[in-house]
């Protein structure tokens, strides 16, 4: 055959069968015509022959077009048929769709959260070139002084752009009322270094960050603009009051940019040179070389590595400060720029210290939810496999009626995809609900990353959808594999084979895997729940149940010390007079909050070991403080009104300090020295006032009358319901000064629960996912055994006819389910023993191999499995033997 005609014959294979003959004929006609215009084939030279062959290749596009047309028409038919099948088998469809929706929804929600908090890069230009700086081996950001920053800024060629910022709370007033907002003092090049563009207006110009106190300009965050100013486009040029100083708004940050510390959303940015003006008590901050307060974030030069930049940075730092030596005991909180040890890290995600405690729990949850998705996929696979058995006859009939195998496969593929599509859509709904739930949980607790918003991550959804689609396709094809591999005649004769229920079939293996995975999830949930219970049961040493708090920052509202003291007196007097108030006191550190004041002091009569760091937690408190928060005195006396600014300096210590530094000596009457000597007048009991899982640290309590606290918190003990007292306090504070915003207005119990947020969230979600896993396993077992009973109806009939009792049949069905469950539970326990290692450090007061959890989980699962087996087993015993024998 001539080559061009051979190609036409070959290309015809793509053309749908019913059009093929005509298609070939038409194209052959075309080429015979061409030949006739030339010469006899034998006399044609090679150029003409080549030209004919080249022309014949264009038939490929024609054939392809027909193929696509056919495919599209077929696809529509497949979809219609698939939709009809899904509607007809409502039970099957509902089970598969619900299973997929739960798996996809839970994964999307958790992945979105993890992505937002941990993974996603900052929305800035080339985030992969950004670097952050940690001080030494600590996990705290390097805190640099302003002189150090300005000196080093342009001296490290490997880091050509270096910006500085310092997050500070601001009091923002616009009219009568004031709000406490998250502020940041930033260097003039902060936005330009990051490559962020303003939503409206402009960012700081270089000369606005040169001369201290000259440019009272501010950039506001998009969230604040929307929330507080109703997205008013005329905001640029408007005057706002930041810490009682007038500032002009020059621009609004874009909505996606919330600052460079993950988990916080900055509302107001002001230039660094305005720090002395805007921050009360910070008038010398720009001159002091020892005042470390600025975090720095830089951009690497092209081709430079972080290790090179780190070496260069440290070299320049040492040059600028030749006296810098590694301190004997590194103190993370002070003089960070004097330590030559600096770590230069990947800064694409910004600083992470605010979300550090959420990272691991979220990763753990992601693993758990991944297991749930696997269980869900196994479940859908099992349902599809079970249905495959019942569809053998249908497929055999279609094959016998002349359908091609490819046509059958395509039909089943379409059905799988349709199922995945419906499941995915429902999953989107579940994800939205779960994300809303997580957001509302977050909003009920105080100091959580505010960047958790209610949006769903598109990448996560795409990822889980792909998994669902792959499952749908892989197991949707199972009936095709079964039907196409078996012979047509037996398929036609009986759609329901009498075998396939014994031995460890693929469906059995899937059940075993599901049980194993759910045991792992449930063990994790059990351990976390036990851990949270242990945390909540810890005796913190305080009686927080009827205590409410309200914090203020009088300095931010422009109060001087005198006015601040008058305010404190006024609040004390008016709140103490409220009905339902038992006692009122002030303290600088709110129990269970993440605020702390660490410092060193010397103890009279105690000689520190070489290199020993005498570190104490400090808290400035008023008289009546210990009575109010319910912390008992071990010895000595409390502060009283007799301890005044002019009387002998006094302090109280806790038992931990007494144990460590007095070692059997009587502390009361002894002295400590922190700048000036003060007498120890009493010892209070230990209390866990930071995180309840943290050991009590040696603490020194200073009297408010003799020390100025930066931001003080009102502590009120109520005689009855603390919430009614809370609302009365709020009204009272409004009446005293509406321009002084109160924060931390809540009960101490809520504060304690808030401090356990990460643990409680993990335990709650793990329990939720554990319950989901059990439910899926139960559905899977039930589905598999139901189909198994249906498959074996005739066999059951024979057994009944031969004298088998109902009990025999019941145990036959249940035994199969239980064998699979026991196998799965054993594998799950082994897997959980290996997996719980990742929980180390996240659990408190419970061993990762807690025997109670490891026994109860498999037993509980077995009980649920028994119930799931019992329903199909009972159905088997109720079969009519005669009807069962006639069953086909």
């Amino acid at each position: 055959m001539k080559p061009h005609l051979r190609l036409i014959a070959l290309l015809g294979l793509i053309v749908p069968r019913h059009l093929r003959a005509g298609w070939r004929q038409e194209w052959e006609g075309e080429f015979r015509y061409r030949e006739s215009q030339l010469d006899a084939w034998e006399r044609l030279d090679w150029r003409d022959k080549l030209d004919l062959f080249r022309r014949s290749t264009s038939a490929f596009w024609d054939a392809l077009w027909l193929f696509r047309q056919q495919l599209e028409a077929g696809m529509f038919l497949d979809l219609r048929y698939g939709a009809r099948m899904l509607i007809r088998h409502k039970g099957f469809t509902a089970a598969a769709v619900v299973t997929l929706a739960l798996g996809i929804g839970a994964n999307t929600a958790i992945f979105s959260l993890l992505d937002k908090i941990v993974v996603r890069a900052l929305p800035v230009e080339q985030p992969d070139r950004l670097v952050t700086f940690l001080g030494g081996a600590e996990r705290f950001p390097l805190a640099m002084s302003y002189p150090m920053y300005t000196a080093i800024r342009d001296r490290v060629p490997l880091i050509p752009a270096l910006a500085a910022y310092s997050p500070r709370p601001f009091s923002l007033a616009d009219g009568a009322a004031a709000d406490r907002v998250t502020g940041a003092v930033v260097s003039g090049n902060y936005f330009s270094m990051l490559g962020v563009r303003p939503a409206i207006g402009r960012f700081f110009a270089p000369d606005e960050d040169r001369t201290p106190g000259t440019h009272a300009v501010a950039v506001i965050g998009h969230g604040l603009w929307r929330r507080r100013f109703g997205s008013d486009p005329a905001i640029v040029g408007r005057s706002i009051s930041v810490n009682a100083r007038p500032f002009t708004v020059i621009g609004v940050a874009p909505p996606e940019f919330t600052g460079t510390t993950r988990g916080t959303t900055v509302d107001v940015y002001v230039p660094t040179v305005m720090a002395p003006t805007v921050l009360p008590g910070w008038s010398r901050v720009l001159d002091s070389p020892n005042w470390g307060w600025l975090h720095v974030i830089g951009r690497l030069a092209p081709g430079a590595t972080r290790a090179q930049a780190q070496a260069a940075f440290m070299e320049v730092a040492a040059e600028l400060d030749p006296g810098a030596k590694p301190p004997a005991a590194p103190d993370p909180m002070i003089l960070a720029d004097r330590r030559p040890q600096v770590q230069v890290l990947d800064g694409s995600g910004g600083y992470r210290e605010e979300v550090e405690n959420l990272t691991r729990p979220l990763q753990l949850l992601m693993a758990a939810v991944g297991f749930v998705l696997l269980i869900a996929c196994a479940n859908v696979a099992n349902l599809l496999l079970a249905r495959a058995v019942t569809r053998r006859q249908e497929i055999a009939i279609r094959l016998a009626a002349g359908a091609s195998r490819w046509r059958i496969v395509r039909q089943l593929l379409t059905e799988g995809l349709l199922l995945a599509g419906v499941g995915g859509t429902a999953g989107l709904f579940v994800a939205a609900q779960l994300t809303a739930l997580l957001t509302s949980v977050q909003q009920q607790v105080t100091y959580l990353p505010r960047t958790i918003d209610g949006t769903i991550d598109a990448r996560a959804l795409a990822f889980t959808l792909v998994i669902a689609i792959v499952t749908g396709i892989a197991f949707g094809l199972a009936p095709a594999r079964q039907a196409l591999s078996s012979d047509l005649v037996s398929g036609l004769k009986s759609g329901v084979p009498g075998r396939g229920a014994r031995g460890l079939t693929l469906r059995g293996v899937l059940i075993v895997a599901q049980v194993a995975l759910s045991v792992i999830v449930l063990v994790g949930a059990g351990l976390c729940l036990k851990g949270v219970r242990a945390l909540q049961a810890i005796d913190t040493g305080l009686q927080p149940s009827r205590v409410v708090t309200a914090s203020f920052d009088p300095g931010l509202a422009g109060y001087d010390e005198q006015r601040g003291r008058r305010f404190v007196d006024a609040v004390t007097r008016r709140v103490a007079a409220l009905p339902g108030v038992e006692s009122v006191a002030w303290g600088e550190i709110v129990p269970f909050s993440d605020f702390f004041d660490i410092g060193s002091a010397s103890v009279e009569g105690y000689r520190p070991e070489p290199g020993e760091r005498m570190a104490f937690d400090f808290n400035t408190v008023s008289s009546g403080y210990f009575r109010t928060i319910g912390l008992p005195l071990a010895s000595g006396r409390e502060f009283t009104s007799a301890d005044t600014a002019t009387s002998l300096p006094v302090v109280l210590i806790n038992e931990a300090a007494a144990r460590r530094y007095w070692r059997g000596r009587v502390p009361v009457g002894g002295h400590i020295n922190r700048g000036r000597s003060a007498e120890v007048i009493g010892v209070v009991r230990d209390s866990r006032v930071k995180k309840v899982s943290d050991e009590t640290k040696p603490t020194i309590y200073l009297p408010l009358a003799q020390n100025r606290g930066a931001n003080m918190t009102l502590h009120v003990r109520a005689s009855g319901d603390p919430r009614s007292v809370l609302s009365r306090i709020r009204q009272e504070l409004q009446a005293i000064d509406p321009r002084l915003p109160a924060y931390n207005l809540q009960t101490l119990d809520a504060q304690k629960n808030g401090s356990l947020y990460a643990e409680r969230l993990s335990a709650m979600l793990l329990t939720l996912f554990g319950a989901l896993a059990i439910a899926l396993v139960a559905v899977g077992l039930y589905g598999m055994l139901s189909y198994s009973v249906a498959e074996r109806t005739r066999e059951i009939g024979v057994r009944l006819a031969l004298g088998a009792t109902r009990g025999d049949l019941m145990s036959m069905v249940i035994r199969r389910g239980l064998v699979l469950t026991v196998l799965g539970a054993m594998a799950g326990v082994a897997g959980a023993l290996a997996a719980v290692r990742v929980l180390k450090g996240l659990l408190f007061g419970v061993s990762p191999t807690d025997p109670q959890v490891f026994v109860l989980v498999p037993l509980g699962l077995a009980a649920v499995a028994l119930l799931a087996c019992w329903i199909p087993a009972r159905r088997a015993t109720r079969l009519n033997p005669l009807a069962a024998l006639r069953h086909e």
Partner: protein, 102 residues
């Protein structure tokens, strides 16, 4: 309707009534002309029929598939002509021998 499709429709209207004839008249490749003819047929702008076997055998050559304008095709062409000013660019009409029609 694309310019190319309109050109092919115009060619059929001008009396070029089977595949390779249209290819010659328009200068377009077969891989463009044939799918376009099929699309036009699907859309109802052309109707198609096979030549009688006897005629083909007498020539001797494979039977041809003839395309003919429909009413809808003429309306579509008039509209396209307005848009593309095809009248000026169309290939000259050519009389086909009636005998070759089935």
């Amino acid at each position: 309707m694309t310019y190319v499709t309109a050109t092919i429709l115009q060619a059929v209207a001008s009396g070029y009534r089977y595949g390779f004839d249209v290819i010659d008249a328009t200068g377009l490749p077969g891989g463009t002309v044939y799918p376009a003819l099929r699309r036009l047929e699907d859309a109802g702008h052309l109707s198609a029929s096979w030549e009688k076997e006897s005629i083909a055998r007498a020539e001797p050559r494979p039977p041809r598939r003839y395309y003919e304008m429909t009413r809808a095709g003429r309306a579509a062409l008039a509209q396209a002509a307005k848009r593309y000013r095809l009248a000026e660019q169309a290939p000259p009409a050519k009389a086909r021998p009636r005998s070759s029609r089935a």
